[in-house]
Amino acid sequence: MSRRLLVISCGLIYFFLMLPLLVVFPISLSSAPYMQFPPPGLSWQWYERYLDDPQWIDATWRSLYIGGATAVLALALGVPLAFALVRGRFFGRTIIDRVALAPIIVPHIIFAVAVYGLFAKLKLIGTWYGLVVGHTVLALPFVVLVIAAGLRDFDRSLEQAAEGLGASRWNTLTRITLPLLRPSLVSAGLLAFISSFDEVVVALFLAGANMTLPKKMFDNIMMEIDPTIAAVSVMQILLVSVVLVLIGRFGRGLKDSAR
């Protein structure tokens, strides 16, 4: 009896969670020139408007390669950091652990304003690599958490066996450790990519005239609500679904990726 009540209330809560994701689908297909619900008819016009507008396409490409570069850089820096934090024994380990995770805790607006002040001095506003650096700082804690979780569950006897059989440290790392960590690496890389691809606050300050997709969306929402945003949103939701499926398929389970 009370179990049924729980299931019904959870059904409603799931509805609340999914409703905003679902509502953009019909609106993106609306034939009305402005936001109207339910749509009076169906059309692809908002998708066409998106595809025909070089500004939207530019912003999309920019976000894609900034996200890709962020994922590469965050992995290159975050994986060794996670190794040091989990396996290293050195003075100040706890402090470094806190510093590595601090970008999650410090409000993004503070980081965005701070890095904006610095980059304005260094003339890095509006450059793609400036944004990559900003996004890498924000993605680093995700990478460290996911890789550290993978390393903690790691069976070190496999490495010891390889070394006992005469493998060099480099061979052990590249042929045993990293392949076994691959699910964590996939999850960490995809999470870093998505965190950059979706990031608005830092982009708002650092992107300048070179829009990223989220900044372009933010500006559009601020000015007028036009269903092009709904079309972009639908594509964004589909992209995230694909990434989640990839994480589920090749990464370290969905449940770990959320932590």
């Binding site: 009370s2 179990r3 729980l6 959870c10 799931y14 609340f16 969670l17 999914m18 409703l19 905003p20 994701l21 509502v23 953009v24 936001m35 619900f37 820096l77 060794p80 950091l81 040091a84 934090l85 396996r87 290293g88 024994r89 050195f90 003075f91 470094i96 652990d97 510093v99 590595a100 995770l101 970008p103 805790i105 410090v106 409000p107 993004h108 607006i109 503070i110 980081f111 304003v113 701070a114 890095v115 904006y116 610095l118 650096v133 890498t136 700082v137 958490l145 550290a148 979706d198 989220p214 969306m217 933010f218 929402i221 609500i225 945003i229 949103s233 939701i237 995230v240 989640l244 959320a258």
Partner: protein
């Protein structure tokens, strides 16, 4: 120095140069000229105290509603069959990883004057005039609860998972009602998860920018929005820095309290 720190160095350099240094540098602006006048302004003037109070109030309410909605979800996911637990995870993670902008935009579509909710209610004859739900406190609250709910569900889920199912089963066998099982077994054993989730949601709400900026429509001013205005519109860096310092201090204080009274919220260990 121990060599095992070496792999950490490149990342640490990045964090020092592009994270710690800019933040400390910016916070330094707040005491430029050796005075604390900007702090006096931030914490002394009625107008700005109001902003701090708004921020605190919203964070508290968001945390409360996230707990109210998040506990049943986490509980159900932790106690159901693996198939339904996975489905539950998908429906929690999909919104979590969908852009905050997309979700905020969708809420504008739902809550607006001519939005889905008002249209539906008017056509059903329930109301004659649209209920204002956007560009006010209610809108910001709904949007933020939606964005932050997953952060509450996940720690509660892991806390409920850790409860040995034999304990509630034994209690039920001895005739305890489901309410008694919840109150005397699950609630005390999952306090840690409740605490971790609440701290996370509360701290994230304190510094939240996008959803309040868009759903508040300039009418709900909370601290993150005020900082952005001071930098981009007023170009008042010292004041923005003082506000940031206060926000940062509040954030760290909540975390420090949380670490004292429970296990760390996030750590690599």
């Amino acid at each position: 120095m121990n060599r095992s720190i070496f792999p950490a160095l490149p990342a640490l350099i990045l964090l020092f140069v592009f994270f710690l240094f800019p933040v400390v540098r910016m916070l330094g602006f707040s005491v430029e000229g050796g005075t604390f006048d900007w702090y006096a302004k931030a914490l002394g003037e009625q107008l700005y105290l109001r902003v701090f109070w708004n921020t605190f109030e919203i964070a508290l309410l968001v945390t409360f509603f996230c707990l109210l909605l998040g506990y049943p979800l986490g509980f159900l996911m932790a106690t159901t069959t693996p198939f339904w637990a996975t489905m539950g995870f998908i429906f929690v993670l999909l919104p979590l990883w969908t852009s905050v902008l997309v979700r905020t935009y969708a809420w504008m579509v739902l809550l607006g004057r001519n939005g889905v909710f008002n249209r539906t209610l008017i056509e059903a004859g329930v109301i004659t005039d649209p209920i204002p739900m956007l560009h006010n406190f209610t809108g910001v609250l709904i949007g933020m609860v939606h964005v932050l709910l997953p952060y509450m569900v996940l720690p509660i889920y892991s806390a409920v998972r850790k409860v040995d199912p034999a304990i509630p089963a034994a209690a039920a066998g001895l005739g305890a009602s489901s309410f008694a099982i919840f109150r005397r077994i699950y609630l005390p054993l999952t306090l840690n998860g409740i605490f971790a989730g609440s701290v996370l949601v509360f701290v994230l709400s304190l510094g939240f920018y996008i959803t309040p900026a868009l759903l508040g429509g300039g009418r709900v001013i909370i601290i993150a929005v005020l900082i952005e205005q001071q930098v981009r519109e007023a170009l008042n860096w010292p004041f923005a820095a003082a506000l940031s310092a206060v926000l940062l201090a509040a954030t760290f204080a909540v975390y420090a309290l949380a670490q004292r009274y429970s296990q760390p919220v996030e750590t690599t260990r």
